[in-house]
Symmetry: C2
Subunit: 285 residues, 2 copies
C-alpha cells in the first residue's frame, strides 16, 4: 500500500509512526512545504521517501495534516490528482469550511473528513510520537458522503491505531470544539501574556511557577502558524465562547469586589464537577 | 525530635512523609479539625500519633498547613502554647495578613513565614506524596524576624527536602503570586464553568477533551475551602491581575472581530516566549 502524508510534523509524523508498526508492508511517501521537515522525517525514518503532487496518482491513501488555511487551498488539488480507489482524509481542527470547500468536487466521494483529537504543544517531525492516538477520539464528519469501501479503509486504520470514532456534522463539531479546545488555547495564551507583562523579571516567574501556572499556560507554547487559521475559520463560534468566558470572569470579579465569599465558594464547588467529567480522559503529555 | 503537623492533608501529609525518611528518629504528632483525616493519616502511617494543642509544649517543630483563614485564627494560639526553642512555620499561600497578625506576638521570633510552592489538585492525607517538594521553591518572608537558631532548624529541613529557598517580603510575595498562581486558578475555574454551562451533555466534553482542555482546566479541581480564603486575603492583588487578564482577553476578541489575523499571530508569537521561561521548571503531576 502506498501511503502519502502531506504535512509531516507532529500530527502527520505520529500517523506515520503508527502506520509503520501496523502496516509494515506499506511505503510511506512524505510531502512538506518545508524541505527541512522532509529531510528530517526521512533521516528519522518516519517516511520512506520524499515525494510531490506529481506522484499522487500512485497513492492508495493520502493523509493531509496541514494548517486549516492550507487545507482549503490544497485539498481540491489533491483530490484532482488521486486515483478513484484512493481515500484522502485530513485532520483539520475546523471542519465546516473544509467540507464546504470540497462539497461539489467531482471526487468528493474519495474524501473522509476527520479530526483526531490529540496533540502536544510541540511541532515538527521530531515531535512525532508513537501511539499518540491510542484511546483518543476521532471525529468524523459527513461520513455518508465518502464511498463505502474508502470509508472502510480509513476506519480500519483508525481502529487499529486504537482511536474511538465519533460521528458529528461539521457545524456541531466546530461549535463544540470552540468551547472544549479553541477557548482553552486563548485562555492559556492570554494568561501567559498577562503574567509575562507583569513579571518583567522572568526569573520571578521561574521561581514561583510551581503552583499550577505551568500546566495552565502549557498551550501558550502552541504554534501560531497552526492556530491563527483555526481562529479565522471558526471565528463566530470562538467569539461566542470567548464572550461567555469573559462574562464569567467579570462575574467572578464582581463577587470578589463585593466580598461575596459564599458566592465564590459556590462557583468553585459547582465547577469541581469537572473532576468527575474528566475522570477517565487520557491525559496528553 | 517531636514534630507536630497541624493540618495533615496533601501539603502537611507530604511534609510528614519526607520527614519520616529524612529524620527517622523523630516522632510525628498530627492534629486536624477533621477526625477522619487524623484517623486516615494514622492508618496510612503518615503520623505516629494523634494529638491536640494541650501537647504543643512538647514540640521542637510545628508545621502549620491549614487554609489561610484558619491560619490567622490559629497561629497566635499555637505560638502561645509552644516552648522557647520550638520553631513554628506555615505554608500559607498568602503572607501579608499572616505576618501582620503575629507581628506583635511575644513569640514572633519562634515563627518562620514560609510558602513552599508545590501541590496537586487533590486533597486529604491520601493525596500526600513523597518528594513533592524536591526541586520546588520555598519562599521565606521576614526571615530576619525569626530567631537565628530556629531559622537554622527549619532551613536545614527544607534543604534536606531538596527545596530552593527564595527570600521576599510579604507584600512582594502576595503581588507576584497573584499573577503566577492565583490568576491561573481563576482562569481555570472559569474555563471549566464556561464549558460545563455550554456542554450540557457531559459526554461531549469527555469525547472532545483530548486537545488541551484537560490540562488547562486541571486547577478547577482544586479545593474551594482552601482557595476562597486565599482570594479573600489577597483581594486587591487578585483584582489587579484579573482586570489585566480580562483586558487582554477583550483585546484578543477585538482583534478577531476586526479580522486582524496578523495581530493574532503576533500576540501568540510574543507569548510563545513562555517556552523558554518555563524550560527547566519541574512540572507538578
Amino acid at each position: 500500500m502506498n501511503i502519502f502524508i502531506i504535512g509531516i510534523g507532529l500530527i502527520g509524523g505520529s500517523f506515520a509512526k503508527d502506520i509503520k508498526r501496523l502496516r509494515p508492508e506499506s511505503r510511506i511517501y512524505g510531502i512538506d512545504t518545508k524541505p527541512a521537515h522532509e529531510e528530517e522525517a526521512l533521516s528519522l525514518g518516519i517516511i520512506d521517501l520524499k515525494s510531490s503532487y506529481d506522484e499522487l496518482h500512485l497513492a492508495d491513501m493520502v493523509i493531509v495534516m496541514v494548517p486549516v488555511d492550507a487545507m482549503v487551498a490544497e485539498l481540491p488539488k489533491i483530490l484532482d490528482a488521486v486515483n478513484d480507489d484512493c481515500v484522502v482524509f485530513d485532520g483539520g481542527s475546523t471542519k465546516s469550511l473544509v467540507c464546504k470547500t470540497v462539497a461539489d468536487h467531482p471526487k468528493r466521494r474519495n474524501y473522509l473528513s476527520a479530526h483526531p483529537i490529540a496533540g502536544t504543544e510541540f511541532s515538527g517531525p521530531s515531535a512525532a510520537i508513537e501511539n499518540l492516538y491510542a484511546g483518543k477520539t476521532n471525529i468524523i464528519c459527513e461520513v455518508e458522503k465518502t464511498a463505502f469501501k474508502l470509508q472502510e479503509k480509513a476506519l480500519e486504520l483508525f481502529h487499529d491505531m486504537g482511536m474511538r470514532i465519533c460521528y458529528m456534522n461539521p457545524e456541531a463539531h466546530d461549535k463544540h470544539i470552540a468551547y472544549v479546545s479553541h477557548l482553552s488555547h486563548i485562555s492559556s495564551f492570554m494568561l501567559g501574556k498577562t503574567v509575562i507583562e507583569k513579571e518583567k523579571n522572568e526569573r520571578d516567574i521561574f521561581d514561583m511557577a510551581g503552583s499550577g501556572f505551568e500546566s495552565t499556560v502549557r498551550l501558550a507554547k502552541s504554534s501560531p502558524a497552526m492556530w491563527t487559521p483555526i481562529f479565522k475559520h471558526n471565528k463566530e463560534n470562538v467569539l461566542d465562547a470567548l464572550s461567555e468566558y469573559i462574562q464569567n470572569l467579570q462575574d467572578f470579579k464582581q463577587l470578589l469586589e463585593n466580598d461575596d465569599y459564599g458566592g465564590i465558594y459556590n462557583e468553585m464547588t459547582d465547577t469541581n464537577r469537572i473532576r468527575e467529567i474528566l475522570k477517565g480522559i487520557p491525559l496528553n503529555k
